[in-house]
C-alpha cells in the first residue's frame, strides 16, 4: 500500500506541475484579436531633422455596428522617428492597442523622402519582422505620403484600402506596374535593373476627373498613374503615363489594356479596343558586330469602338479596315514603347531590365559588357517588332452612319 500511496503522490505532483506549466505561466505571446489595431498602410516622408523620417501609420479601428457587420474607423497617426521600431513605440504610447502588422497592405513612400532618403533601410523592417508579408504593395506618392493617407475619400474607404483595391484591379488596364515587396527585393538582387514603383496621387476635382466634394479644394479621390524609377536608394525620375505604358508592354506585364488610336494623325478613322492577351518575347541577336536586343510583342485586340467611319463598308473593305486597325494599334504600341526606351536612354537607368534580358539570353556576351553597362544603355541597339491581331470587332461590322447626302451639308 505504501508504494501505491507514493505513486499517488508522484502522480499528483506531476499533474500539478503540468497544470502549473499550462495555466500559471501560460499564454505567452497571446493577443486577443480585439486588442489589436490592424495596420493597413504605412507612409514614409522626410523628417524635419536630418536622419529622421516622418512615419504615418493608418490603423483601422473595427467598431461594432448595431445593424450588421463591422464598421471601420480610421485612426491615422504621424510621428517623426529615426527607425520604424521607434515610430511604433511612439504610436503605442498613444494608441491603446497593439499594432498588428499582418494586415499591412501598402507602403507609401513620399516623393521628398524617395528623392533624398535611403529607403532600403526603411524597408528592412518590413522584410525582416515576422508579421509582415512580402506580398504587400509598395507605391510612391506624388507629394507627401502623409497627405495621401489622411485623405477623406468619397467612397468611404480608408486610403490604404483604396490603393490596394486600385492596384489589384490594375490587371484590367495594365497601365502601371504592380510592385510587391518581394518583387522589389528580387529586382534589387538582379543588380543591373533599376527598380520602378507605381505612383499614387490624389485627384482634386478638375484634375482630369470632375466630381462634387463636400469640402472645397480637397481631394476626394486617388489614382495610380505613371511610375517612378529608382537610382539605387533614391528616386531618379517619374515616368509619364505613356512611358509607363511602354514599360508594361516591354516587361510583358500587360494582361488587359484599353487602347485607342485617337492620337494617331495618319488615319482619319480611329479605333478603340481592349487587349485580350499579350505576350512579349526577347531575343538577343548579332547585328553587324554588335549585339542587339529585339522585343517581339504579340498581342490580340478586340475592337470596341470605331469613330470617323463615314459610310457603310462592304465585306472586302471591312477586312481592309480591320487590317488598317491592326497597323494603327501596332503604331500606338510602338510609340508607347519607344517613349519608354527613350526615357531609359535619357536617364541611363536600366528600368526595363534590358541588361537582365541580355544576361538571360546570352550570358557570355553579358559578362563582357556587364561592367560598363551604365554607359552602354544610352546606345545599346534595341529593335521592336509589334504584331497585333484583331480578334473580333464586337457585335457589329460597320458602324451606324447617316445615309450619304441627307444629313450632311
Amino acid at each position: 500500500m505504501k508504494t501505491d500511496r507514493r505513486k499517488e503522490h508522484k502522480f499528483i505532483l506531476r499533474l500539478s506541475i503540468i497544470a502549473c506549466l499550462l495555466f500559471l505561466t501560460g499564454c505567452w505571446g497571446k493577443r486577443e484579436v480585439e486588442d489589436l489595431a490592424p495596420l493597413l498602410g504605412i507612409g514614409f516622408d522626410q523628417g524635419e531633422k536630418p536622419g529622421t523620417f516622418l512615419v504615418t501609420e493608418q490603423f483601422a479601428r473595427p467598431k461594432k455596428d448595431s445593424s450588421s457587420g463591422a464598421e471601420i474607423e480610421d485612426r491615422t497617426f504621424s510621428v517623426e522617428a529615426s527607425s520604424s521600431r521607434e515610430a511604433f513605440e511612439k504610436f503605442s504610447k498613444v494608441a491603446y492597442r497593439t499594432p498588428f502588422m499582418g494586415s499591412l497592405k501598402v507602403i507609401i513612400i513620399g516623393e521628398d523622402f524617395a528623392k533624398s532618403g535611403d529607403f532600403n533601410n526603411v524597408l528592412d523592417f518590413a522584410q525582416r519582422y515576422a508579421e509582415f508579408r512580402r506580398s504587400m504593395y509598395i507605391v510612391l506618392a506624388k507629394g507627401k505620403a502623409l497627405d495621401l493617407l489622411n485623405l477623406k475619400l468619397r467612397s468611404g474607404l480608408l486610403p490604404a484600402m483604396a490603393i490596394k483595391s486600385n492596384i489589384e484591379g490594375g490587371d484590367e488596364i495594365s497601365v502601371f506596374p504592380t510592385v510587391r515587396l518581394g518583387h522589389y527585393l528580387t529586382i534589387l538582387g538582379e543588380k543591373s535593373t533599376a527598380p520602378i514603383f507605381p505612383v499614387v496621387e490624389s485627384v482634386k476635382t478638375g484634375e482630369g476627373v470632375e466630381y462634387k466634394t463636400d469640402v472645397k479644394d480637397e481631394a476626394g479621390e486617388i489614382r495610380i498613374q505613371g511610375a517612378g524609377v529608382m537610382r539605387g536608394d533614391y528616386l531618379a525620375d517619374f515616368l509619364t503615363d505613356e512611358e509607363s505604358k511602354g514599360y508594361m508592354w516591354l516587361e510583358n506585364d500587360v494582361v488587359h489594356r484599353l487602347i485607342n488610336t485617337v492620337d494617331l494623325e495618319e488615319n482619319s478613322i480611329k479605333f478603340g479596343g481592349q487587349v485580350i492577351e499579350s505576350s512579349t518575347k526577347y531575343k538577343v541577336k548579332a547585328n553587324n558586330d554588335k549585339m542587339e536586343l529585339q522585343y517581339k510583342i504579340k498581342t490580340s485586340i478586340a475592337i470596341d469602338e470605331i469613330m470617323g467611319l463615314k459610310k457603310q463598308l462592304s465585306g472586302p473593305e471591312w477586312v481592309e479596315l480591320v487590317k488598317q486597325a491592326e497597323k494603327d494599334f501596332a503604331k500606338v504600341i510602338e510609340k508607347e514603347c519607344n517613349s519608354s526606351i527613350k526615357k531609359e536612354r535619357e536617364l541611363g537607368l536600366d528600368f526595363l531590365g534590358i541588361g537582365r534580358h541580355i544576361e538571360q539570353k546570352n550570358s557570355k556576351y553579358w559578362k563582357t559588357i556587364r561592367d560598363q553597362w551604365e554607359a552602354e544603355i544610352a546606345d545599346f541597339p534595341i529593335s521592336l517588332e509589334v504584331l497585333v491581331t484583331i480578334h473580333h470587332s464586337g457585335m457589329s461590322s460597320s458602324s451606324a452612319t447617316n445615309s450619304g447626302g441627307e444629313g450632311q451639308e
Binding site: G29, R133, R134, S135, E168, G182, G189, H357
Partner: protein, 363 residues
C-alpha cells in the same frame, strides 16, 4: 523483435532523408551555385545511393545486426568502440541541434513572443512518445505524415506560382558546371545524415532475398523522390525570390508560406504549413533519438526508460545551448560538413572495403 515491412522502410527512409532539408536547402545550394543551384540537389542526394547500397549489402552478409555490431566483427572491439562513441556523439549532438531548429523556426517566423523552451518541450515530448512507442509506431507515423508533408510542400509551391518572376532561372550554367558540383557537395551531408540512421535501423529490416531487393529498390525510389521534391523547392524559390534573395532568406519556404494567397482571401497560411514541417522535424529528430538509443544499447548495453530520459535531457540541453538562431544555423552547417559527411563516408567505405576484401580472401 519488432519488424517493419519493406514498404514502411521506404516511407520511413524517405521521411528521414527528407526531414526538414527543404527549409534550408535552397539557401545552401544557391549560395554556392547561384541560379543553377537547383541542379546540384539531385546529384547531392544521389551520393546517398551508393552508400545505402553498401550498407544494405553489409546487412546481407550480416543479417539482424546493425552497423556498429558489424564493425565490431570486421574492425575488432576497440576500433568499433571508438567508432560507436563517435557515432553516438554525432547523432546525439545533431539531434539536439535539430530540436533547436524546431524552436528557431517557430520563434522566428510565427510566434516570436513564446519562450523557445516551450517549442523544445513540445518537440521532445512528441519525440519521446514516439521513441517509447517503438519503431513500428514510428514507421507508421511516417507513413501517415510523409504524404501529408508532400501534399503541404506541393500546395505551398503550387499556391505561390503566381508570385514567380519572369526568367529568373536563366541563364543556365553561365558559370560553368563547377559551382553545381560544389553545391552537390553541400547537399551530400543531408544524405549522410540518413545513412547514419540507416546504420542503426538495419536490425529491424526484413532480410529475405526478395525483401532485400525491395529495400534496394526502395532506397533508389526514396532518394529520387526526396531529391526531386527538394529540387522543386529550390527551383520554386529561385523562381520567386531570385538567387540573391534565396541566399539571404534563412528559411525560404516559410517566407513562401507567408506569401501564399488563395484567391485574395486567405493569405499567409504558413502557420498551417508549419504543422506539417513540425511533423517532418519530429520524424528527423525522432530518427536521431532512435539512433542514439540504438548506439547506447549496442556499445554500452544501456537501455530502458532511464537512458531514454537521459538522451531526452541531453537533447534539450543541446537545444538550449543554441537558442541564438544564427549560431544554430551555423552549427548545423558545421556539423553537417565537418562531422557527419567525413565520418559517415569514411566509416562505411572502410567497412565495405574490408568486408569485400575479406570476402574475396575467403572465396
Amino acid at each position: 523483435m519488432e519488424r517493419i515491412s519493406s514498404h514502411q522502410f521506404v516511407v520511413l527512409s524517405s521521411a528521414v532523408l527528407m526531414g526538414t532539408t527543404f527549409l534550408p536547402i535552397a539557401s545552401i545550394v544557391t549560395e554556392v551555385a547561384s541560379r543553377d543551384g537547383w541542379m546540384s540537389v539531385m546529384p547531392g542526394f544521389a551520393v546517398g545511393i551508393p552508400y545505402s547500397l553498401m550498407v544494405l549489402s553489409l546487412l546481407e552478409q550480416h543479417p539482424q545486426k546493425n552497423l556498429l555490431q558489424i564493425s565490431e566483427i570486421l574492425l575488432g572491439k576497440w576500433i568499433s568502440k571508438i567508432t560507436g562513441v563517435l557515432y553516438i556523439f554525432i547523432t546525439c549532438y545533431f539531434g539536439g541541434l535539430l530540436l533547436g531548429q524546431a524552436g528557431d523556426i517557430y520563434q522566428s517566423s510565427i510566434m516570436p513572443l513564446t519562450p523557445i523552451g516551450m517549442f523544445y518541450l513540445g518537440g521532445i515530448l512528441l519525440v519521446f512518445y514516439l521513441v517509447k512507442s517503438g519503431i513500428e509506431v514510428f514507421s507508421r507515423f511516417s507513413e501517415i505524415l510523409f504524404p501529408l508533408i508532400i501534399i503541404a510542400l506541393v500546395l505551398n509551391m503550387g499556391l505561390s506560382i503566381s508570385r514567380m518572376e519572369q526568367g529568373e532561372l536563366l541563364p543556365i550554367l553561365s558559370e560553368g558546371i563547377k559551382p553545381v558540383i560544389w553545391g552537390g557537395l553541400k547537399v551530400a551531408p543531408f544524405a549522410m545524415e540518413y545513412i547514419l540512421f540507416l546504420a542503426g535501423i538495419l536490425v529491424f529490416l526484413p532480410t529475405g532475398k526478395r525483401e532485400l531487393a525491395q529495400l534496394k529498390r526502395g532506397v533508389w525510389r526514396g532518394v529520387f523522390l526526396v531529391g526531386f521534391l527538394n529540387m522543386m523547392v529550390v527551383l520554386t524559390q529561385i523562381l520567386i525570390f531570385g538567387p540573391e534573395e534565396t541566399v539571404r532568406i534563412v528559411y525560404g519556404l516559410l517566407v513562401l508560406g507567408k506569401m501564399v494567397e488563395i484567391s485574395r482571401t486567405v493569405a499567409g497560411v504558413e502557420s498551417v504549413f508549419l504543422g506539417a514541417w513540425l511533423g517532418a522535424l519530429i520524424i528527423k529528430v525522432g530518427a536521431f533519438f532512435f539512433t542514439v538509443t540504438w548506439g547506447l544499447e549496442t556499445v554500452f548495453n544501456l537501455k530502458g526508460l532511464k537512458w531514454n530520459l537521459g538522451v531526452g535531457v541531453v537533447f534539450m540541453g543541446i537545444a538550449f545551448k543554441f537558442t541564438r538562431g544564427p549560431d544554430l544555423v551555423m552549427e548545423i552547417g558545421l556539423v553537417d560538413n565537418y562531422l557527419i559527411l567525413p565520418f559517415a563516408s569514411v566509416w562505411i567505405l572502410t567497412l565495405w572495403g574490408i568486408s569485400r576484401w575479406k570476402g574475396a580472401g575467403i572465396s
